[in-house]
Amino acid sequence: MRLFRLTFATILQRKAWVICAFAILVLPFVLPWISSSTEKPILEQPARILAAWNTLWITTMVWGLFTAAREGESNAKTGIGEYFQTTGLSATRQLFEIWLAVICFITPMAVATALICQFGAGPADPAERSMWWVMNLQYVSLFLMVVAPLLALATALASRFGGITGFATTLCITLYGLYGVGYLDNMVKIEENALIKSFLLFSPQYRFAGDLTQRFCLKSGPVPMDSYWTMLLYFAGILAVFAGLSRLCFRSKTTA
């Protein structure tokens, strides 16, 4: 686990994570001031939930994917990967250790967001409060299932094609999965098109996870358990595909 410790320490030393942690802990309490909850105090909790989860998504999309890409690139470019290769650490193992270091920063952020949502914006009614626990657990698990393979893909793409490609590609995939597919789905609803429909079927529909923010705000209760398991299976499928692609793509040294 020496590469993991090295990557973890590098990210820790760069301190950009402090900005993210600060945003995640502070923005949910500050942003509601610019919402209409200043006029209607009853809206403070929905405003806080929106701020908390959106900050987490944006932080992960911007800092998380960028860090993953940067670590993947520097591992290949600086010769660290080559060095670890000679000590017997295989490419896949290297990819795993770099990924583990990044996810070790993202997971606490997701947990902190869920805790803010639970204790800073939980409903007063005890029955609804227990519902909140289920929703938070569902959201954190789905969020991590969405983000984990994307981080690995960012690292792998960056190691082969450079940091900008790794970051930009995964960022576009995430944005498309969260928001783009919804609009595409609307298009298909208006006019049936077999080609777009099959494209939609094999698009990573991260919106199923992202929509949980709105479920919180509308207090519509947890996702039905059978749908939740289908979602987990769905995201596990995407995880397996991205893991395979990342393994194929990752390299520990530049050939040039």
């Binding site: 942003l31 209607k40 403070e44 929106l50 079927l201 529909q205 979602m231 596990a236 595909v241």
Partner: protein, 301 residues
């Protein structure tokens, strides 16, 4: 070589089973309309933030409305020269203009404004083509619709979109089209869901008055589409909205919730409430005239 083969096998297994699981689970998830919500990036539409952005967008809405209704967004060169900044020397005549020569800072601001308006200036002497005007109208409608979606209970944004939709466009007269009726009904349904704020009730009331006034226009036609009983239904709905406004607003007075609003917003709310009540009385008289219970001269008394 064997490790390479193992790697290929592992990758194939991962991608193969992953694709299977992906495809297997995608079907039920995409077809399950309960879990897929309408696209709403960052959940901003209809959120507490959306309500604020809806107010912030009103300057832009004004511009979009005029661009769409006038059929162009074309500024003439005079506008470009002076910009839209602080140029109050105009009204005072030429002499004052010299005396009130704007300061360097204001002149710089005006230059920046005119430069930012540059893409909108049309130097082509031929007027805009029909297709271009249609396109501009569509753009304006999209902007107005977006502002409305941010907060459907916002009085000004609803009113702009409604008047835009019913504005006489190519060859059509103002009439109660399906789209404006649907807009009004959606607005009423959305606004009446809010039990904590009196202002959405006013927006719902405005939607009722809009529907009524278009029904009255329709009545004057040779073959009216809407009956008097339909008008009565909307009048009842309108009364319900006003009663609801009074109810929630008196609760706000008790809870001192009005104190959280700025005086301008309270005054604006009061103006709208007075306006809606006047329209309501006029609408009732119009319906009575249509029913033949009073005549025009009685109504004007």
């Amino acid at each position: 070589m064997s490790s390479r083969n193992t790697s290929i096998v592992i990758n194939s297994c991962l991608i193969g089973t992953g694709l299977l699981a992906w495809a297997y689970a995608a079907g039920p998830l995409t077809s399950n309309r309960d879990i897929a919500l309408a696209p709403n990036p960052l959940g901003i539409k209809r959120s507490p933030y959306g309500e604020v952005f809806a107010i912030a967008m009103q300057g832009g809405i004004d511009q979009a409305f005029h661009e769409g209704v006038m059929g162009n967004n074309i500024r003439d060169l005079h506008d470009l020269d002076h910009g839209h900044g602080d140029c109050h020397g105009h009204e005072d005549g030429g002499q004052n203009e010299v005396q009130d020569a704007p300061s360097l800072k204001i002149r710089f601001q005006n230059t920046l404004t005119s430069l930012s308006n540059l893409p909108l200036v049309r130097t082509n002497p031929k007027p805009a083509a029909k297709a271009l005007r249609f396109q501009l109208r569509r753009n304006a409608e999209d902007k107005l619709r977006f502002a409305y979606d941010l907060d459907p209970s916002n009085y000004a944004n609803y009113a702009s979109l409604h008047f835009f939709l019913t504005e006489p466009s190519v060859g059509t007269r103002p009439e109660l089209t399906d789209s404006s009726l649907k807009l009004a009904e959606d607005t009423i349904a959305y606004c009446l869901k809010d039990p904590n704020d009196p202002r959405p009730s006013l927006t719902a009331a405005a939607a009722c008055t809009n529907v009524l006034s278009l029904m009255f226009d329709d009545r004057r036609k040779a073959a009216p589409k809407y009956t008097i009983s339909q008008m009565r239904e909307y009048l009842v709905q309108l009364d319900h909205c006003i009663a609801r406004y009074d109810d929630i607003s008196s609760r706000w007075t008790e809870e001192k919730s009005w104190d959280l609003l700025s005086p301008q917003r309270i005054a604006e709310c009061q103006d709208r409430s007075d306006f809606i009540r006047k329209i309501r009385d006029a609408a009732e008289k119009t319906i009575l005239i249509f029913e033949g219970k009073i005549t025009n001269s009685q109504a004007s008394n």
